[in-house]
Amino acid sequence: MQLIYEKSVTGRRGVKLPKSDVRAAAPLPDSLLRKETACLPEVSEMDLVRHFTNLSRRNFSVDTNFYPLGSCTMKYNAKVLEDVAVLFAPFHPMTALLPGGDEFCQGTLGMLFDLGQLLADITGMDEVTTQPLAGAHGEMTGIMLIAAYHKAKGDKKRYVVVPDSSHGTNPASAAMAGYEIITVPTASYGDMDMELFKQAMNQDVAAVMMTCPNTLGLFNPHVREICDIAHSHGALVYYDGANLNAIMGKVKPGELGFDVVHVNLHKTFGTPHGGGGPGAGPVGVKKELIPFLPQPRIVMDEEGLFRLEKYSGHSIGRTANFFGNFGVMVKAYAYIIMLGREGLIQVSEQAVLNANYIKERLKTYYELPYDMTCMHECVFSASKQLEHGVHAIDIAKFLIDRGYHPPTVYFPLIVKDAIMIEPTETESKATLDAFIEVMIEVARIAENNPQAMFDAPLTTPVSRLDETKAAREQNVCCQW
């Protein structure tokens, strides 16, 4: 399919702009002007619409395909959420920052305040900031809050401890916040090795970052002990909320001893993934960390009005321009109030049920490194299929031909040729059964006719792209 630039014809336009109703301004001096107009596309509206409509049809998406991408919680995105976001499109963020402006923004400021309270209730934390613009951004913000906490106490800390099963954003965020990483191996029972963890802890550790259930989909029964050990060494504990879909109403990270938590609105709270964002990563803290929260902070005054709190000397500052990805938060807020208490509990129960069902039905065909109750996702290894030369990637490509977006492959790194399946609660038993049948068939084909796997995918516009060539040639921009 051609690039939009390849469809351009000089002089064509895609939209009619208004004519000026004021006189033309004298031009700026040449030294301030660009020599030529930027070589942007020149197409009619019809061309533009056909181009992007046809591009969209080259995507698998939740609305078109079962998308069990582990760790990403690809649940159905309710259309009502899209409708309500539009209601807030015209509001300018600066209005709230003008003198007396917050009075004209009671709706939006109030919603952010309420959302913060709801998320604090769900996670068992004391206060939530909605400013971080993505999960990883929340992780970085959270570690910075911890850094500010230690700095304020006059403690110099060097390390952040993470399990080797952690999502890459955990050590990357900690490094961005100025820390060195200590990695603790996962034991054979599927959790961070407690003995090695105790050995790794020392007075120079600022924080321990973990998620529970972990990236293997397993709930660590010693999680409170881990928090206690961390605290006894003067470290704080960070909860990566990417897997919150498994435990709503059942467990609250705040009650386990976590000091900082982030949640992913585009995962647990049903806002769409957007082809790679926008997401949002609100961060919850225990009260010791409230003084360090980013600004502006939304508070409710004695009259019940929502105000922006003046910049506090202890705040880490700002992690984004304004209040965060407001348009994403509207959707998450609507999701939470629409589902309510019973709805969120049902989400976690059904998510865990669906994942365990898949796990039980597929464990005879695929190696299950940790054969125990999983939570919202299960991790297999393609080790049996490897005996026939079939890798996790081949299984993924074959599934595409059957109309499935593949599960996550090669993560977590501690499982060889990992296949991580997260069905989510919005899928029916019929969908799961069809997927299971195909996975069983794949196991059989891998054994009897592996070549069929290497040929896949055959039904897509392109097949087995040369990633080495892309990395070596670095063509990231159309050249003409």
Binding site: A38, F91, H92, H273, N321, I400, K469, A471, V476
Partner: protein, 447 residues
């Protein structure tokens, strides 16, 4: 009977699944969690129907003042959004997909982001771009961190004319690192060239400027780029995309890394987000770029296709040594930006920029006539600085009551600037609206 519109399994199906698993009820699947770790309470309000939810959200939106005439910027701008942007980015195949990890079933997203990268390169006049960052402010911070990596040095110089929000975010990102941040106070609404020149030496990794700057002043940083390069440091410029329909591009100036906020490209105000940050750089710096990058390649049959590339820079491979921690970016917002630029098109962006300037110059000419008012005499695009005879806060507050957001009062952000206001005029402001605004200002100043 439980609700099944989002969680479809009916009780009979649930029973079948439980029996396959070998447990009696769903609660058994949580039995391995020790009782003392279970949530003590879970007090959320009960749920409601879709219809009631819409009603509630409408009520909340209604609690904000609805009609507001925007003469304000501060980083977010009230621009035209062609209808195609909503319709096409609203296609579920785009917005309910995720990061294109499996390229064969994500060529829609991948090609669109490649086209987006191309647009950013062409707008900024630089060689390489990524597939978006979170916003313009965090993009400034990421660019600074990129410069620190590239040069191996640990000092950043900030022009005080850069948005206070961008500067704050940058300082927050760097606060726990062994990095020195020096700010150069503005001189009459522009970069203090002399003071900056005095600070340039081989300890500096990068200098950050903004064009147009927070006061609306437009500059040419070509000479500055030469000075910065003479000490082997990098020049980073934060730029306003609509202005690039007219203004000298960062690439033409010799800037090394260009960043900015993409909200003005097809993304609604939406109370501050989501938007996207863009970053473009000279080719030599590509391995140090943060975020996702889409590359062109061919498949096994020689057909052109697109993939996530140079992933070895990223967190899922390099973990703590990654160029950034970014995982989800702002894919859908970048797509909206691309559709906007495609709709407006090559000449259209130039016309749009012209419209902005014309409207702003007209407003300037009218405001200048008001008694006791002067306007900063620097070249401007669609924002300009006004000196009022009384504190700007009071004037802004009075006009807000009338449904006019008059501009950004600078007293909160800069010293000795209580009487200063930065006014923004975009193509959406009609002559009549501008006249109404000027009249309201006049009344406020005379009272």
């Amino acid at each position: 009977m439980p609700d099944t519109h989002y969680c479809p399994n009916i009780p009979e199906e649930i029973r079948e699944m439980l029996s396959v698993i070998g447990v009696d009820n769903v609660e058994d699947l949580f039995a391995h969690i020790p009782a003392e770790l279970r949530a003590k309470t879970f007090n959320l309000p009960p749920g409601m129907s879709e219809f009631e939810t819409k009603d509630r959200m409408r009520f909340i939106a209604g609690e904000n003042r609805q009609e507001m005439l925007h003469f304000i910027g501060g980083g977010f701008y009230d621009h035209i959004i062609p209808s195609v942007v909503d319709h096409l980015s609203g296609r579920a195949e785009f917005y309910t997909a995720y990061t294109p990890y499996q390229p064969e079933c994500s060529q829609g997203t991948l090609q669109a982001l490649f086209e987006y990268q191309t647009a950013i390169c062409r707008l900024t006049g630089l060689d390489v771009s990524n597939a978006s960052l979170y916003d313009g402010a965090t993009a400034c911070a990421e660019a600074a961190m990129m410069a620190l990596r590239v040069t191996g040095r640990n000092r950043i110089i900030l022009d005080g004319c850069v948005s206070p929000f961008s500067r704050q975010v940058l300082k927050t990102y760097l606060f726990n690192l062994e990095v020195d941040v020096i700010e150069v106070a503005p001189l009459d609404g522009q970069l203090n060239q002399q003071e900056l020149a005095g600070l340039l030496n081989d300890s500096v990794a990068a200098v950050l400027v903004q064009n147009p700057n927070f006061f609306g002043s437009v500059g040419d940083f070509t000479a500055l780029a030469d000075q910065v390069h003479a000490v082997e440091a990098l020049l980073i410029a934060s730029v306003y995309p609509i202005s690039l329909g007219m203004l000298k591009s960062p690439g033409e100036m010799g800037v090394d890394i260009a960043v900015g906020d993409g909200q003005s490209l097809g993304n609604p105000l939406s109370f501050g987000g989501p938007s996207f940050g863009f970053i473009a750089a000279k080719k030599a710096f590509i391995r140090n770029m943060p975020g996702r990058i889409i590359g062109e390649t061919i498949d096994r049959n020689g057909k052109r296709g697109f993939v996530l590339t140079l992933q070895a820079r990223e967190q899922h491979i390099k973990r703590h040594k990654a160029t950034s921690n970014i995982c989800s970016n702002q894919g859908l917002c970048a797509l909206r930006g691309l559709i906007f630029l495609t709709s407006v098109g090559r000449q259209g962006l130039a016309d749009l920029a012209q419209l902005n300037r014309d409207k702003a110059e007209y407003a300037k000419s009218q405001i200048r006539l008001l008694p006791g008012v002067t306007v900063l005499a620097t070249p401007t695009f669609n924002e300009f600085t006004v000196f009022l005879p009384r504190p700007a806060r009071g004037v802004v507050s009075e006009l807000l009551e009338q449904g006019i957001a008059a501009g950004v009062p600078l007293g909160e952000y800069y010293e000795a600037s209580d009487n200063v206001l930065v006014v923004t005029v975009t193509e959406k402001r009609s002559r009549k609206e501008i006249d109404t605004f000027v009249k309201a200002l006049e009344v406020a100043l005379c009272s």
